[in-house]
């Protein structure tokens, strides 16, 4: 009987080795551990055994059963593992096929850049002030210290609005956001004409110049101006404020320089160059090999402008600076054609 058990064990383990799938495993289990299996036959013939044989054969039969069950379980696991390994092997994707995308929305690049600029200015205490796009000559020029026929007007060729009759105060498309300086000052002086409050505002908006549309010049462009007016504001403060702004806008290490310049509505005036952030000042196409990029114009608010705004230049002083978000984007992204901005070609817009 023991021999028979040994035989059953040996042949069952032998046949288990070649079992490699779930169906065959079940067939093996039925054949070797099922009710009509040879092993179970031994158990069913148990009654026929002698008293002496019973414990010996019983123990041996149990050992074989446990052994076969354990081997079966481990084979089940092995087959499962093999099947998983096989399927993992087979389910390999071409990871280079393109992903499924979806239509998404984006802000126009000019809006994005305006936001960057205004966000920095807001943190510096400059609040947004907007004003109209069609202006009068008075607000766009005269009150800003551009007398009629002054040569400074050559710097800003202007679109004029058609009217029925001739006037010395024609309507025009604003050439800069600076008319907002006068609007703002006059609005603030209204609150307390004797002692008007200090001002710190950012003036964003679309401006217009009468220029042929080419890769380098456009009839409209955005501008952002900063204006600070108060009783203790100096040129040194202007330098400090601009330096703070430039550091935030162009990076910690951005070197800058102040060049004397001329604008009718500021005096002293300066233009600010920042070290070319494309080449680091080594000279490249973007900076025309000069190492510097002209990024903004600034100056102390001209006494005539303060006066026109209702702020006594003997008591108040202030500074203003202006810059172009599109120009900043062009420099940063090496955009060589300003016409992209209002062309709104989706192939351009989708890159921002």
């Amino acid at each position: 009987m023991l021999d028979k058990l040994n035989e059953i064990e040996k042949s069952a383990l032998e046949s288990l080795k070649s079992v490699t799938d779930a169906a065959a495993l079940e067939a093996w289990r039925v054949a070797n551990l099922g009710r009509s299996s040879a092993l179970m036959g031994v158990f069913s013939e148990f009654g026929k055994l002698s008293k002496e044989e019973k414990p010996v054969i019983g123990a041996a039969a149990n050992r074989v059963k446990v052994k076969l069950e354990a081997e079966f379980e481990s084979q089940v696991q092995a087959v499962k593992n093999a099947a998983l390994a096989k399927s993992l092997e087979e389910e390999k994707l071409d990871v280079t096929l393109p992903g499924r995308t979806k239509f998404i929305g984006r802000l126009h690049p000019s809006t994005q850049q305006l936001r960057r600029v205004l966000a920095i200015l807001a943190e510096m205490g400059f609040q947004v002030y907007t004003s109209r796009e069609v202006e009068t000559d008075e607000y766009n020029f005269q009150l800003l210290n551009f007398p009629p026929d002054h040569p400074a007007r050559d710097m800003q060729d202007t679109f004029f609005i058609k009217t029925d009759s001739e006037t010395d105060n024609p309507m025009l498309m604003r050439t800069h956001t600076s008319p907002g300086q006068i609007h703002a000052m006059r609005q603030f002086t209204k609150t307390n004409p004797q002692d008007p409050p200090p001002i710190r505002i950012a003036l964003p908006g679309m401006c217009f110049r009468y220029e042929q549309i080419t890769a380098r010049s456009e009839v409209q462009f955005n501008q952002v101006e900063g204006l600070a007016v108060g009783k203790n504001i100096t040129f040194a403060d202007l330098k400090g404020t601009i330096a703070d702004f430039v550091r935030r806008m162009f990076g910690e290490g951005a070197r800058l320089r102040f060049r004397a310049s001329y604008f009718p509505f500021t005096e002293p005036s300066a233009e600010v160059d920042v070290e070319c952030f494309v080449c680091g000042g080594k000279g490249c196409q973007v900076c025309k090999n000069s190492g510097w990029l002209e990024i903004l114009g600034c100056g102390m608010v001209h006494p005539v402008v303060l006066q026109n705004g209702g702020y006594d230049p003997k008591i108040y002083s202030g500074f203003a600076w202006g810059m172009g978000p599109e120009r900043q984007l062009m420099l940063r992204n090496k955009i060589n054609d300003i016409r992209y901005f209002w062309g709104n070609d989706v192939r351009f817009l989708e890159q921002f």
Partner: protein, 844 residues
């Protein structure tokens, strides 16, 4: 303005300063150098990684290889008629040089020259511009055989040396050119191209720039240089004051007129050095007399005009010449130097004699009294003009010139006689003329000196620097201001070459700017504002619009920003308006008016892009312009949206060809308005929105206020565009109206008890609106129904003609755990209500 360094050196010692040092100092002080053009001097060599400072161009002349030489004889070439062989001495050796230069060809075979000709000689290996190539192409001079004769060197043209584009003929240097000297040491130069700001007209000349450099470097301005010492007039001639008299009719626009006379001039080319400097400054060399007026103008800044005195004398009947400056009569004509007849208006000033007009004052001379090759005696005019008047006249007649450039920016009247003296001096030098004694000088309106009082406190307050009055005085004195310290004040008088210093508060700002420039902007400290921060109010309108943009982008819409300018034709494809804001000076027909419709802007952009993608969802936020008679237009803010094309982006394995329709747009608008926290919104079909499909459009109302309209573009409107086959959905909102509605804040609490979901479908007549059914369900369900969502609309014969089935997904919610029985009770109530109100039947 282009200024050769060599010319500056006539007035200031620049030893020890590199060209770039000079350019940097000028640039920071407001005379921006746009470009440095090297014409012979060594160019800076940048090592890898080294920083550039200026745009540079040009060529350096090798000192070993390019030298001054002299031609001693011009011989025939044995095998070529058009070429000559030059016997030339380069300071070390005799050389034979082959040339085809036409300007020495006439000397061929005339034997040994009595007076050798000085030339620029380039030896083998020199790097030059190719004289025969188009533009500036560098080449290295190589040995060659030309028609059997060995050629290893050359005599140079201006083009080859980078002086001008002129390649026809070689440079003939002045007789005193030192043979054997490196050409770079003799006439090597660099040209600074300087932008002159509108308030710096005083520096649109060599002496002006030299004066600034003197102030910036602490060096001396050598205006006492021999060139500026006007030579005493030849005294045996009749004084010009006996021969010419002048009357000024409009002193307020023509405050001064001076004139001098020079006799027996010999018209010929100017010395080469004069020609070279003029050419580098961008002015053509014409003859010694014309060159002298230009040279004096570039040097001092005073434009001059030369009359042929004999013509004037002839016109005066050989008597005393009487010049009058007066306003032109409207319609009066004058023929200017450029041989154009010009019709004048009364704001133009004419220089006339008793026979008629001679010149357009301050802008351009007349043809008749022009200097010609036969001119012997010259009356030289130096006058002063009101800059605004000249600017208008130059614009009116489209006559930009070197003279009008300066006059239209302001030349101080004090310069007039100085200019005449300098011009006469050069004419006497270069044309061997004899200067007649005296100067006719009519100066009825002397400008008042600008005097400004400055205190140390003024400087501290505006510039933020502590300076003593003495320091301020020193800074200003460097720029020729006259300063006097009295009683803790500095009395500053502007020098008489500048007109940009005003009086009072303006004058103070003008002077403080000069203090800052002279001190150096770089030396002013960098401080943080100590002034009070104004009350922070924010800008709710701006912030709201930005929020709106964010919502639109989150909904998948692409922002566009369009030209404000459009044409009536373009806009009237979608909307018709009778009046527009029109330009007096439109830049192009398609940009002749300001837009009145933002939808039109967005549709224009859609049309431009239509072939570039198969799906679009665009929006724009901006102003439109509504004309107001005799006043500024209204500029209301609008939002416009346009969508068309595929609803979903297809992939390589997923295809969905459905396209956007009315409900895609409506769904986005619903999300947009809920994002703005607007409630109680109703949608009403309308047939009065002319650009939209009458059956597929709606007004959006909050209460009685229409805040926007949307729908499918009317087929007849769409026909006028190229917009593809898919329907085009558009929406437009009046942002002021939207902003005017109070948002509803607050939330619906999220219950901790599980909801029960149930679907019900009801059959109703086709005419019953979905809105009505939903409202009834919500009303009846009350707080127990937290969500009602229509998930299907079904029509079929089985449910009857003229009927539709509306299927809803209901969410029941209570403040306790809700059972199915609770839900069934509510449902029954709802169904009953629907049956009663709209004759609905529950679909089983």
């Amino acid at each position: 303005m282009k200024i050769p360094i060599s010319w500056l050196k006539d007035f200031i010692d620049l030893d020890g300063l590199s060209v770039e040092d000079i350019a940097r100092k000028l640039t920071l002080a407001g005379m921006e150098v746009d470009e440095i053009l090297y014409v012979g001097l060594p160019m800076p060599v940048y090592k890898e990684g080294e920083k550039h400072e200026f745009k540079t161009n040009g060529i350096a002349w090798d000192k070993e290889k390019i030298v001054v030489a002299e031609i001693r004889e011009v011989k025939a070439h044995p095998n070529a008629d058009k070429l000559t062989l030059l016997d030339l001495y380069d300071g070390e050796k005799d050389q034979v040089v082959l040339t085809g230069a036409p300007n020495i060809f006439h000397l061929k075979g005339t034997g040994r020259l009595e007076k050798p000709i000085k030339v620029a000689y380039a030896k083998e290996g020199s790097v030059l511009y190719d004289g025969h190539a188009e533009g500036q192409v560098l080449m290295t001079l190589k040995r060659a055989k030309i028609r059997g004769v060995d050629s290893y060197s050359m005599v140079c043209s201006e083009k080859e040396l980078g002086i001008t584009e002129e390649s026809d003929g070689i440079i003939l240097l002045d007789d005193d050119a030192p043979v054997g000297t490196p050409l770079a040491d003799y006439i090597g130069d660099a040209v600074l191209d300087i932008s002159i700001l509108p308030n710096m007209a005083r520096n649109a000349n060599v002496i002006g720039i030299a004066r600034e450099l003197a102030a910036l470097t602490g060096r001396e301005l050598k205006v006492e240089s021999p060139k500026l010492q006007v030579q005493p007039a030849t005294s045996n001639l009749q004084s010009v004051t006996d021969l010419v008299e002048i009357e000024l009719k409009n002193p307020e626009i023509n405050p001064r007129f001076t004139a001098g006379l020079i006799r027996d001039v010999e018209i010929k080319p100017s010395p080469y050095e004069v020609q070279r400097r003029l050419k580098l400054a961008g002015i053509r060399a014409i003859s010694n007399i014309v060159d002298a007026t230009n040279y004096a103008m570039l040097e001092l800044g005073q434009p001059l005009h030369a009359f042929d005195y004999d013509v004037l004398k002839e016109r005066a009947g050989k008597k005393k010449v009487k010049l009058t400056v007066r306003s032109a009569k409207d319609g009066e004509k004058v023929t200017t130097l450029d041989n154009k007849e010009r019709t004048l208006t009364s704001s133009n000033l004419l220089v006339c004699d008793e026979k008629g007009s001679l010149a357009l004052g301050g802008v351009m001379g007349g043809l008749e009294s022009e200097v010609t090759d036969n001119t012997k005696n010259i009356l030289l005019e130096g006058a002063a003009w009101n800059f605004i008047n000249i600017r208008k006249t130059a614009k009116q007649h489209n006559l930009p010139s070197e003279a009008s450039f300066r006059f239209s920016r302001g030349v101080h009247p004090a310069m007039a006689d100085q200019g005449v003296k300098l011009g006469l001096h050069y004419m006497s030098q270069w044309a061997n003329g004899k200067i007649a004694p005296g100067i006719v000088d009519v100066y009825p309106l002397k400008p008042k000196d600008s005097v400004v009082q400055v205190t140390a406190q003024d400087v501290k307050k505006l510039l933020g620097i502590d300076l003593t009055l003495q320091q301020i005085s020193d800074l200003l004195t460097k720029l020729d201001f006259k300063c006097k310290i009295t009683n803790n004040q500095l009395q500053v008088t502007a020098p008489n070459h500048r007109m940009d210093i005003g009086e009072g508060a303006i004058g103070l700002a003008d002077v403080l700017e000069e203090v800052a420039r002279s001190y150096g902007y770089d030396n002013i400290p960098t401080t943080t504002m100590a002034d009070a921060l104004p009350p922070q109010t924010g800008n709710p309108v701006h912030e709201w619009e930005e929020h709106l943009r964010d919502l639109l982008v989150a909904l998948g819409l692409q922002e566009v920003l369009s030209y404000r300018m459009t044409s009536i034709e373009k806009e009237s494809r979608v909307v018709q308006h009778n009046t527009y804001v029109q330009f007096a000076n439109p830049i192009a027909p398609e940009k002749s008016v300001l837009r009145r419709s933002l939808i039109a802007s967005v549709l224009d952009n859609l049309e431009k892009n239509i072939r570039l993608s198969d799906s679009f969802a665009l929006f724009e936020i901006g102003s439109i312009f509504e004309p107001v008679k005799n006043n500024l237009p209204n500029e209301p803010r609008k939002l416009a949206i346009a969508m068309t094309g595929l609803r979903k982006e297809n992939a390589w394995d997923v295809k969905d060809s459905t396209t956007y329709d009315f409900y895609d747009l409506k769904g986005r608008l619903e999300l947009l308005l809920s994002g703005l926290r607007l409630t109680n919104i109703s949608y009403a079909g309308s047939d009065s929105i002319l650009h939209l499909h009458p059956g597929k459009c709606a007004e959006i109302k909050i209460g009685a206020v229409v805040i926007g309209v949307f729908g499918e573009l009317h087929p007849l409107v769409k026909e006028k565009y190229e917009l593809g086959d898919s329907p085009v959905l558009v929406a437009e909102f009046d942002l002021e109206a939207v902003r005017g509605v109070n948002p509803t804040y607050g939330i619906t609490p999220v219950s901790e008890f599980p909801p029960v979901y149930e679907d019900i479908a009801v059959i109703v007549d086709e005419s019953v609106l979905a809105e009505t059914v939903e409202a009834l369900i919500k009303q009846t369900g009350g707080r127990s129904v937290s969500q009602v969502k229509l998930f299907d609309v079904y029509r079929d014969e089985k449910i009857g003609a003229g009927k539709k089935s509306l299927a809803y997904n209901l969410t029941y919610q209570s403040d306790k755990t809700m059972t199915d029985a609770d839900a069934a009770a509510i449902r029954n109530k709802i169904v009953k209500r629907l049956e009663h109100a709209v004759g609905a039947k529950l679909r089983s």
